[in-house]
Symmetry: C2
DNA sequence: TGTAATACATCATATCACGAAGTATAGGCG
DNA sequence: CGCCTATACTTCGTGATATGATGTATTACA
């Protein structure tokens, strides 16, 4: 996947990964892997950005003697996903613009 | 349209704008406007980048006593559009990942 | 003791969209 | 002529951001 194309999708993808239940860094990367691969440094940058934007909240909890940070989506985060669904219509229009055949005979 | 989301689409959009016939800066911006708005500085940056990547060639021609730069798509440029069509499948998968409802009952 | 997996964090770097500003021509209006 | 707008291309500085490299620390396994 083209890196530029990823940029607009990463934030919503991370939000989607914690939408149904709270999750943590390592698991988010694994869950997203089939769709988008991202490095740890990238993910934690994104998580911090989303936290600052109040699209998620963080809670530290112990798991197996080790501390984990669990991320929980907020209303604003859910709202961001809804916005993406709206943006999707524009993306579809762009896709059609890019793929339309005008030189052939259609 | 979210600026991050634009990033991956701008290049292919510009290529699509010159696909059917050679075009020039100002016209490209107008043709793309219904789909994606971009500033002149952005467009010329992209055109230069695409030229360096040999996805288009440039030809200077006079028009109404003024010089215009006409951009012509190359095989590599057409190839880039084809690649985008392949990437589109991944984007669709991401869209489904983001929009799937797991908390409801599906 | 050593290796790998888990888990999070910081820093430097490269890419890139964009506003601001500049250069230059053509045409309309008074 | 002077002024404005549209056309047409260019350069510069800035801010956003994905990522590799690197570091810290624990658990599990051989």
């Amino acid at each position: 996947m083209d890196i530029q194309l990823k940029r607009g999708l990463l934030d919503v993808c991370v939000l989607a990964a914690i939408k149904s239940e709270d999750s943590y860094g390592y698991k988010i990367i694994k869950d997203m892997k089939p769709y988008i691969e991202l490095s740890e440094s990238t993910l934690y940058t994104i998580l911090k950005r989303l936290e600052m934007a109040k699209m998620l909240t963080v809670r530290t909890a112990e798991h197996g003697g080790r501390l984990r940070k669990y991320y929980h989506i907020t209303e604003a985060g859910l709202q961001r996903i809804e916005e993406f669904k709206e943006e999707w219509k524009e993306i579809l229009a762009i896709y059609q613009f890019v793929t339309k055949e005008d030189g052939e005979h259609g």
